[in-house]
């Protein structure tokens, strides 16, 4: 690929600049949809952006006895991890950086922010943060297994470990949504848990432990961490859209390549927004469950469902897909 085009791809469109804009739009839409479902008005369009700018400009407060460098670095690492993951997810056609095995890389990069939240919570020497951090990492162990299983099932079926490859495979066969409905549901639940949204906002339960690991975050640390979470909302939705809904791949051939790209991009927008609508609905329709209840439900039902899905995929591979 042309270095200039690659530069534009990574930094401008559909790279980081678009990611930031879309992440803030996503947060706006999420809040707006939730508000309207609750019969409220909700924030104006620029609210997430205004919040970001405002929080960026606020004073950074160091809790007593905290390692400043780690506290400064953690949000940056979280944001960088999410941004890197984003580059491997197809936005307009196949990602130019795609390689065999990028799915595994993306999954691990997306797990990083949670680990960093735990580190932040543990280091901030605040009882609420420590409890929140422990909860975050406990929750990670519960949802990560079914989430990984559910997202690896399309890879098993397509016989490739590349997200773009799976997308192309779906083009030739059928959307994984129809082939693996259980896996799709598990993936959505896992994504909701990964993003710590109700009913899985246990680590930052506002009424119990103030803001959990976020309690001692101030100024640009808070802003960056928040941005990282918005970005991982976009990444997660795009990942689910690519693995289960066929991503930005246009099902028919459109003659000029650029027109095909635009149509693909619109498909990407529609599919990610559909995923967001489902995630917002889950958020609005439920209350927060307890960590012990999540432990029980997670291992008993969600993981079992994911395992059943993998087993079905293996069986389908043997008799139908590979046959």
């Amino acid at each position: 690929m042309d270095p200039l085009l690659l530069f534009i791809y990574i930094f401008l469109f559909p790279g980081f600049l678009f990611l930031f804009a879309y992440a803030l739009t996503f947060e706006y839409l999420d809040r707006r949809i939730a508000a309207r479902m609750q019969h409220r008005v909700g924030p104006p369009f620029f609210q997430p952006f205004a919040d970001l700018i405002k929080v960026l400009g606020k004073e950074v407060i160091d809790p007593d006895g905290v390692d400043r460098r780690i506290f400064d670095a953690a949000p940056l690492i979280a944001l960088a991890a999410v941004m890197t993951a984003y580059l491997y997810i197809p936005i307009v056609g196949i990602s130019p950086l795609a390689f065999e095995g990028d799915l595994v890389l993306v999954l691990y990069l997306l797990a990083l922010p949670t680990i960093l939240l735990f580190v932040l919570g543990w280091l901030s020497r605040n009882i609420f943060s420590a409890v929140g951090g422990v909860r975050a990492v406990t929750q990670l162990f519960i949802y990560e297994v079914p989430f990984f299983l559910a997202l690896l099932a399309p890879a098993l079926m397509a016989g490739t470990w590349s997200i773009s490859g799976i997308m192309v495979w779906q083009q030739q066969h059928l959307w994984c949504l129809f082939l693996q409905p259980i896996g799709f549901v598990v993936a959505l639940i896992g994504l909701q848990a990964k993003l710590e949204r109700t009913p899985f906002d246990i680590p930052e339960a506002e009424t119990e432990i103030v803001a959990g690991p976020w309690t001692e975050l101030t100024g640009r640390r808070l802003a960056l961490m928040h941005l990282a979470r918005d970005a991982s909302l976009v990444c997660g939705s795009a990942l689910v859209a690519a693995l289960f809904l066929g991503g930005p791949q246009v099902p028919w051939v459109i003659s000029p390549a650029w027109l095909g790209w635009i149509v693909g991009f619109i498909l990407f927008l529609v599919k990610t927004l559909a995923v967001l609508l489902i995630l917002s609905s889950i958020k609005v329709a439920t209350g927060r469950i307890r960590i012990d209840q999540l432990n029980r439900i997670g291992w008993k039902y969600i993981t079992s469902a994911a395992i059943v899905q993998v087993a079905i995929v293996l069986a389908m591979n043997y008799w139908w897909v590979r046959a």
Partner: protein, 119 residues
Amino acid sequence: MSVLSEMLVNLLRKPFTILYPTEKVPIPDSFRGRVAITDEKCIGCSKCSLVCPPQAITMVANLREVEFKGKVLVRKKKPQVKVFRCIRCGLCQRHCPTGAIIVVPELSRTGTDREVVVT
């Protein structure tokens, strides 16, 4: 399920919120708002200042002839209400023998001067 259906219905409905400064909030006729004094009705009996719970009403000297029940009498005092001490309980209106002091169904405005009075 009923939650989901109501959520979707709400999504299509207009929000319930009244966007206050641009939309007006309906105020019922019985609303207890600003204190208003009709000067020509007041006979200066001091009842309002006696019943006022936060003691927002003081009687100030004011000589004036007023008509009460067909008779003309001369009053010596009239009430003065400190607007931002008033809790708008409506006791002055309830105890006023002539209906001179009432709470009207209008929002009492805000301000920073603690000593603002209504006479």
